[in-house]
Symmetry: C2
Subunit: 250 residues, 2 copies
């Protein structure tokens, strides 16, 4: 009672054809949340595919959250988690490009200053130690969208070159200035309101809503080597989460 067959002459690989067949059965309600799928062996028999091909197909569906597998028990249709969302925040330039806008960065400030308690805590330094700070304004089609403030250890042996700070990613700046390669990052997103100074740069009224993304970069030895945050204009920046069905015809 397959109803659907695998076309081995199609350009769409069999594992993907089967994934679309099973996806359709799930989305149409023929297979309901909690139902078990036929075993991998049975699916292989039914669609005349090897077990490894069936597994590749089930992997695709599992990655998309449509099914889950339990060793020794079977593979089951997931309850659709529609109140779950995955928001991906890309690097600013790529992000704006994808949205069809022309990105731009302006260096607002770069200076050595003494670590406040907060900065010191994040960088595992003592309060008052010297840190290198820079601030960049990020624009899209000439309109300010976000502000970046970054802090890192200050390496006295190396001068601060403004044009190094202009366009490079924070991780690159750290690698250049402190000869430590950040390999891991931790980011925290929260809602905030624009401080007076930030509002001025972002050309919004003070108190306007902003998305605040804090960032800590770690080196391979797990020491924090960079701290900073992004402040995104609430009216110009939105994160979208969407799961689309498997694409592509044959």
């Amino acid at each position: 009672m397959a109803g659907n067959k695998i076309d081995k002459n199609s350009f769409v690989p069999p594992y993907y054809q089967l994934a679309r067949i099973l996806e359709r059965k799930i989305l149409s309600g023929e297979l309901k949340p909690g139902d078990s799928l036929p075993s991998e062996t049975d699916l292989g028999r039914e669609y005349e595919l090897s077990r490894m091909t069936v597994r590749k197909c089930l992997n695709v569906l599992a990655e998309r959250g449509l099914v889950y597998a339990r060793q020794g028990r079977g593979t089951f249709v997931s309850r659709p988690a529609l109140d779950r969302a995955v928001f991906t925040m890309e690097e600013f330039h790529q992000d704006m490009h994808r949205r069809g806008l022309r990105p731009e960065a302006r260096l607002i400030a770069a200076r050595v200053l003494r670590a406040t308690r907060e900065v010191a805590a994040r960088l595992a330094l003592a309060e008052g130690e010297r840190v290198l700070h820079f601030c960049r304004l990020l624009l899209a089609d000439k309109i300010p969208v976000a502000l970046e403030r970054k802090y890192m250890r200050y390496n006295r042996g190396r001068p601060v070159l403004e044009n190094e700070l202009q366009y490079r990613a924070f991780a690159e700046v750290i690698a250049l200035h402190n000869e430590v390669l950040p390999v891991r990052s931790r980011m925290m997103l929260q809602a905030g309101v624009a401080a007076e100074e930030d509002a001025l740069l972002l050309q919004i009224p003070p108190g306007s809503p902003v998305l605040c993304v804090e960032q800590v970069l770690f080196a391979a030895d797990d020491n924090p080597v960079g701290y900073g945050f992004f402040v995104y204009r609430g009216d110009r920046y939105t994160l979208v989460s969407e799961v689309r069905p498997l694409t592509g015809g044959d």
Copy 2:
């Protein structure tokens, strides 16, 4: 020059052991961004594994963004995308549980009203058509954290039962009331400030920062069947994105 060997007697499967070996080489800088890895065949020879096992290992690394594969060319070490972040927003109850808080939901209102222009647009209805609306306050350890406002088509044939609205997920409510199973959702996150009414319920001053998450649910036929949003207190809700190295000893 392997330096590391696969222990076939370990409980850690070979593909995972190899993934950790390669991850270490990447994080330590032995393999730098842009470098190509040995071919799958060569890795199989070097570590005495079949090609499929090597591929499974490379899949793990690729999923984590450490490497990427290009057909006909090879597999390469990624430039670490440290300004990229993935924020996962779970369903409220699970989320609070994971954070060690006791979640609770209170039904604030449930009524039939006429669709505003915005609601009508999102639900593909005409302005002024009847829609079913409900509002829930979400708490963690008795403290208000978020507010939920939802809108769906009004099915006259079916009464509105308050206890159906109390605890069920929005998708379930839609399935019950309109006999349509939502299968896909689109969510948008942005920063906002609390409106007066919302601020009162959330026990924060009007104008406080909030995270606003808009949600549209679609049925299998791609028609919108539910619209609504969450308003999260900015001081009580933070999203975290973190990539950790491969875990587990042998």
